[in-house]
Symmetry: C2
Subunit: 342 residues, 2 copies
C-alpha cells in the first residue's frame, strides 16, 4: 500500500508507492519511445474506454461521444483511506497513509494530437474539466492540496503518448507550496500587497522577459529561470484560487495556454515538458491546528509554470536546489515573442 | 558573463551562464552517448593534458606521471571576480556576479575506468584530492559554500565519459543547505544533540535500511528516499567538516565509497548517478551579518548522498518538491546488502 514518509533532515514528504512496481531488472534501459504507441492499445483512445478504471467525469456530461474524459490513474500514487493514519513509528520514522486521489484528464479522443494544436474550443473544455475536478477535490476536508500538472514526453515523466494531464490530491501541503506561501505572507505583512501581483507589474514594466500579454493574462520567462524557455502564465486580476475563474477568464486561459505551448513547439520542436498549476491549498475547516494551513486571499496568486526539459538536472542542482541555466531568460523571451502563432 | 539571480517568489538562487552556450538549435536531440567518446579526443586522458585549462593540483605533486589531476572547468558556471557585485537592479530583480570557482577532479588517467572498479589506493587519492581542494577553497572568505559532486552518465548531467568529479564554490549558502542547517540547529536547541547522529543511531538500531557498516562509516537507504536505490554514507564519528578527516578516516571513506558504488553497479548495471557531498558552509569571519551563516559544530554532519537516476522526475515533483519513489527503501537496502563485493 502506498505511504507517505517524511525525511527528518529535509522535512520533505515522499510518497513510497511500491505497487507502481519497479524491481531492479525493470530499470534496464528500454529503447521504445512513446511514438511507437498505437491507438488500438491506447487506454485513452475512444473505443477503448473499458481499458481505464470507471470514469469520473466527461465533457459533454452524459453524451455518448466525448471531448474530454477524467478517469482515475490506474497506477495511482495516492488513494482514498478512511483515515490519514498519521503515525510516529519510532524515533524519526513518522509516516501516514498514501491518502489522496490521482486522476487523469484525457484531453482529446485523438491519439496523436498535441494540446497546442487542438482547437481553442477543445482547450477550453480541458480547462473546464480541470476546474470541475479541482473544485470537487478541494471540497474534501482530508485533502490539503490539489496539484494539476501535465507531463509531455517520456523524459518529462509521461508513460503514454495520448495527450493527458494529471491531478493529485495530497493530505499535506507540499513543502514548495508552503515555502512560497510563507514568503508571500511575510511580504504581504510588510507591504499589504500581493507579492505575485507586484512581480507581475515589475515584469510588465520591464518588458524584457514578457512573451505574450492579453487582456486577462500575461506570460513571461522568470527573471531567475531554472531552465531554458521556462515560462509562467499569470492572470492579471488578482486571484489566489484557480477554481473561481469566470467563463471569460477560462476562454482567455485556453487561448494563452494554447498560444504559449504553440510558441514552444514552433521554436524548439516537440520537446518533453511539464506544466504545473500553482493554486491555493484547500480551505481548512479548523484554522490554527498544527500542520494545517489557512490561505488568506493575498498569500497566493494562482499561475501556471511551464518547464521544458532541455537540460539534464545534475548533481549540483540535486545537492543545492541551486540550478544552472545555460540561457538568459531575456534571450528565451525574445525568441518566444518572435514566434508567429497567428 | 555568468551571473547569479534570485527569484523573488522562491528565494532560490540561479546561475545564469549563457557562455555555456545553448541556442534553440542546440537542443535537438542527439543520439550520441558517452560510450562513443575516444581517448584520443578526451581532454582528461594522459597525453592530452594541454587540452585542459592550466592544472590546479596533481597527485603525486610535481611528478611527471599523475594519478589524479585537478583542473578548472573549461565551461565554468562560476568564476573569480574582484567583488561579489551584489546589486538591486530595480524592484525584484536583484543579482550578483557569478563569483566562485568551478574545478574538475580527474579521478584516473584511465579513460574507460569506473570509480568503483579502481583500486582502493586510487580511490583514496581521489579522496585526498577532494580534501586538498575543498580546504583551499574554503579559505577564500568570498566563497560561502563549496560543493563537491559527481555526475556519471549523460542522463545524470555528465558530458564526458572519462571518470571525473566536480567542485563548485558559491558566494552564497544554497537554499537546501540553509534549510537543512536550520532544521538541525533547531533540533540541537531542543535536544542538545546532533540531529544527524540521532538519525544514524535510529537507522543502525532499526537495521532495516542499512546497506553496509564498517568501523568508521555506515551507509543506508534513507527512510524517505526520493529515488530507488538512493543511498547515504555517514561517518560514525560526529564531524560537521569533511576537510578534517584523518588519514585513517580517508582510507575508510575510500573503501565504503568504492564498495557502495560497486554494489550499485553489480545490482542495476552501469546506470547514470549523481553523488553529492554535504558539508559545513565555510567559516564566516563576520558572524551576524545578514546573509551570512555561521555553522556551529552540531548544526551539521558531513555525509555523502548517492542518487541513481533510474526514474524520471516529472511535473508533480517539480511542482511540489514532493517526490514519488516507486521502490520501498527497505527492499532497495536488502538487495544492495545481498550484493557480494568481497
Amino acid at each position: 500500500m502506498p505511504e507517505l514518509r517524511r525525511g527528518a533532515t529535509s522535512n520533505r514528504w515522499v510518497i513510497v508507492a511500491p505497487e507502481r512496481g519497479k524491481r531492479p531488472s525493470d530499470f534496464e534501459r528500454k529503447g521504445t519511445g512513446l511514438a511507437e504507441q498505437r491507438p488500438e492499445n491506447c487506454p485513452f483512445c475512444s473505443g477503448n474506454e473499458n481499458m481505464t478504471p470507471p470514469e469520473i467525469y466527461r465533457i459533454p456530461e452524459g453524451a455518448e461521444d466525448w471531448h474530454v474524459r477524467v478517469v482515475p490513474n490506474k497506477f495511482a500514487a495516492l488513494q482514498d483511506y478512511e483515515s490519514p493514519g498519521r503515525e510516529a513509528i519510532e524515533g524519526f520514522f513518522d509516516r501516514m497513509h498514501g491518502l489522496g486521489a490521482h486522476e487523469v484528464v484525457i484531453e482529446t479522443p485523438d491519439h496523436a494530437a498535441a494540446l497546442p494544436n487542438l482547437p481553442v474550443e477543445q482547450v477550453k473544455r480541458v480547462v473546464d474539466a480541470y476546474i470541475q475536478r479541482l473544485s470537487t477535490l478541494m471540497e474534501n476536508p482530508a485533502f490539503r492540496y490539489v496539484l494539476l500538472f501535465k507531463n509531455h514526453g517520456r523524459e518529462a515523466g509521461a508513460s503514454l503518448l495520448h495527450p493527458h494531464s494529471q491531478i493529485i490530491a495530497t493530505p499535506i501541503v507540499p513543502q514548495e507550496v508552503r515555502n512560497s506561501l510563507s514568503i508571500a505572507r511575510s511580504y504581504y505583512e510588510r507591504k499589504e500587497r500581493c507579492l505575485f501581483c507586484d512581480v507581475m507589474l515589475a515584469e510588465i514594466r520591464s518588458g524584457a522577459r514578457i512573451v505574450e500579454e492579453t487582456d486577462d493574462y500575461v506570460s513571461w520567462t522568470p527573471y531567475a529561470s531554472r531552465f531554458p524557455f521556462e515560462l509562467v502564465i499569470y492572470p492579471k486580476a488578482h486571484s489566489h484560487d484557480f477554481t473561481t475563474l469566470t467563463e471569460e477568464q477560462r476562454w482567455g486561459l485556453a487561448r494563452i495556454l494554447k498560444g504559449t505551448l504553440a510558441r514552444l513547439l514552433q521554436l524548439v520542436g516537440d520537446v518533453p515538458y511539464n506544466f504545473v498549476l500553482k493554486t491555493t491549498p484547500n480551505p481548512v475547516p479548523r484554522p490554527g491546528k498544527p500542520g494545517y494551513w489557512t490561505t488568506l486571499p493575498y498569500d497566493y496568486h494562482w499561475r501556471i509554470a511551464v518547464m521544458p526539459r532541455l537540460t539534464q538536472v545534475a548533481g549540483f542542482e540535486w545537492g543545492t536546489g541551486f540550478y544552472i541555466n545555460p540561457m538568459l531568460p531575456e534571450d528565451a523571451a525574445a525568441a518566444l515573442r518572435d514566434v508567429d502563432v497567428s
